[in-house]
Symmetry: C2
Amino acid sequence: MPYYIGDVIKDSKKLIARTPEKFEETGIQVKLNTRVEGIGVDEGIVLLAGGERIPYDVLVLATGAVPTLPNIPGTDLDGVFVLKNLRDGLNIKEYIKSNQCSKATIVGAGFIAMEMGEALKSRGLDTRIVYRGELPVKKWDPAFSTVVLEELTNNGVTFMAHQSPVAVERGAQTRLSLVTDKEKIDTDIIIFALGVKPETNLAREAGLAVGESGAIRVDSSQRTSREEIFSAGDCCESYHRVSKRWVHIPLGDIANKQGRVAGRNIGGYPLTFLGVVGAQSFKVFGLEVAMTGLDEREAQRSGYAPAGTIIWGRSAAASMGEGHRLGLKLIADKASGKLLGAQAVGQSGAVGRINTLSACLWSGMGLDELGYLDLAYSPPFGGSWDIIHTAAHVLKKQL
Amino acid sequence: MPYYIGDVIKDSKKLIARTPEKFEETGIQVKLNTRVEGIGVDEGIVLLAGGERIPYDVLVLATGAVPTLPNIPGTDLDGVFVLKNLRDGLNIKEYIKSNQCSKATIVGAGFIAMEMGEALKSRGLDTRIVYRGELPVKKWDPAFSTVVLEELTNNGVTFMAHQSPVAVERGAQTRLSLVTDKEKIDTDIIIFALGVKPETNLAREAGLAVGESGAIRVDSSQRTSREEIFSAGDCCESYHRVSKRWVHIPLGDIANKQGRVAGRNIGGYPLTFLGVVGAQSFKVFGLEVAMTGLDEREAQRSGYAPAGTIIWGRSAAASMGEGHRLGLKLIADKASGKLLGAQAVGQSGAVGRINTLSACLWSGMGLDELGYLDLAYSPPFGGSWDIIHTAAHVLKKQL
């Protein structure tokens, strides 16, 4: 099977030209569009397609993740896309332009699907999101997913629930047709946004340990099960400070941090990666949607006894007569009173709250502290009791 | 000297009607517009003006703070105001309306002066801010105060630096005239926004301990130096978790928390107030201005060896091609690498960052952790390395 190492550099060469020269100036050889066929761990060589063997003392596996495509006919047709890297994005733009697309269909309802929904609609395409479930972004509480659904609908994106794709076909009036278990959807372009899987084939074939999450196992210095092989980014696990488990959360900020930690350790300036708390966010039209920590299901699986509460407030004090509706959900452990997770949705103030709560989760804060945390109060930004305090008090009573 | 207890309830009675009835329904007697002449701590009585004596088992002193007026002639003239409570605000509005004021002058340049500057200018008044120093909001780094000054100027508020008031006089063309050590300023209304002092006279006369800050000394349960007397709000101290000192920070959110803690302890549901980290913010026109923790001077006085750095970034990732200019200053201890304080200014994203950093200060986080803190990354809200991470890395190198 074909492999690429360092697809980010490859993209950079083609698309941002600047980076490879910078690498070469430092004496680093850049091999672009080069497939790696395998790793000889005993000899310490990387085997390239074509037979070239590159020796290494230290190897970094940054193979990233692969977007999931459904196992249905027609996904190889022109006009069917996934969105993982910059190249994908440019290909989509180019295809829409050169084919004068007017109808777009996105399959899946995670945050990439939401962002693509906004992007395609904003480009003027008639945009549908097809999803097998009831509500978008199922990682969030249904109360918040409902707000996301309203935001899609209010902005003219059609959400088609309870449908699964069964085939992609060439279309009649339109370029393509997405056949689902319910109907046939005319469309010019289809984006499959069904999540990603860590690209671990090279690692597995080299005998490296793979974690329960399915991603490459690393330690806090980003070392794999072999001392001389490091891994960073979407292909490997990270330590979750709340669940106390090694998890696979393929996000760009985590990948950046892991890369830096790996580099420091390889370069002889030891550094440990302190882990993650599961902070993430996206924007869809005018809405901020964010979460951190664990949801109830994850908390239960990690051995906690979770309880959760949802508070609706506003992003400014009532006295200001302005601000936007803001929803905050807190999840805490009944036994210890510790915060386990949080979710928020609103036109403003949601991401700020989730970042604050991420710092609280990082330090293992409990509801007692959270209810009296000193925040930068001013009426344009919240009440004298912030929605964080109120939610902590309400949840505390429920424990 | 005359005193009021519970001026919040008094204001509520007059202005928000709802609250006193609620109090009386619960069997609590509300004495409004009633002056307290003294406290007889040995007998346990409160002595009212007119001679009435009210016995108590437990007493709460919530006397608040008093706005500072300069010791110059003419501050008793009609049209001279301070802004402390709701009544002051209503009086100012009423005065502006009934006198058809067109020129306003604010003396002082703290956050109340900034908020009043925006409020008066937005009402259409020709507005000046007179200040003895060079730049507004001197608690912030001059680089950030300069941004605040630009915001005032861009919105048509005149900032008159290096001037101190020497007298208020009746005006000729205008209702009043503010005489400074440099010139005579025609104005219809003058607002003195020179800060507040804790109202401690009753407490001092009753022999209660007053802290170095000049505010009433309390412990973590809001008890004063007498077991049966509690204090909460702008008249008393709070424990600062970073400086490890008892300080006087008269802010509404802290007062709310202290009141609740006092109530819990009086009611037999013990609770300790966990202290503050100095988080505060204000909005002036389109600008968010916020800080938390200590500045270099305060840090030095508390025994730290502070170092600080300022980073300029944007509130969204560069790839988004949008977002606002955002300045972040971090201050850390050279010896331990611990975060000591932070300041931020920008059209968006400043308060969110400061709240996150307040949670970090609360837990005593160091720059090593801060540089790799898990935040809810998404390009519309920041880079994959947030400005918080970048500032932590830059400052870490400087230590």
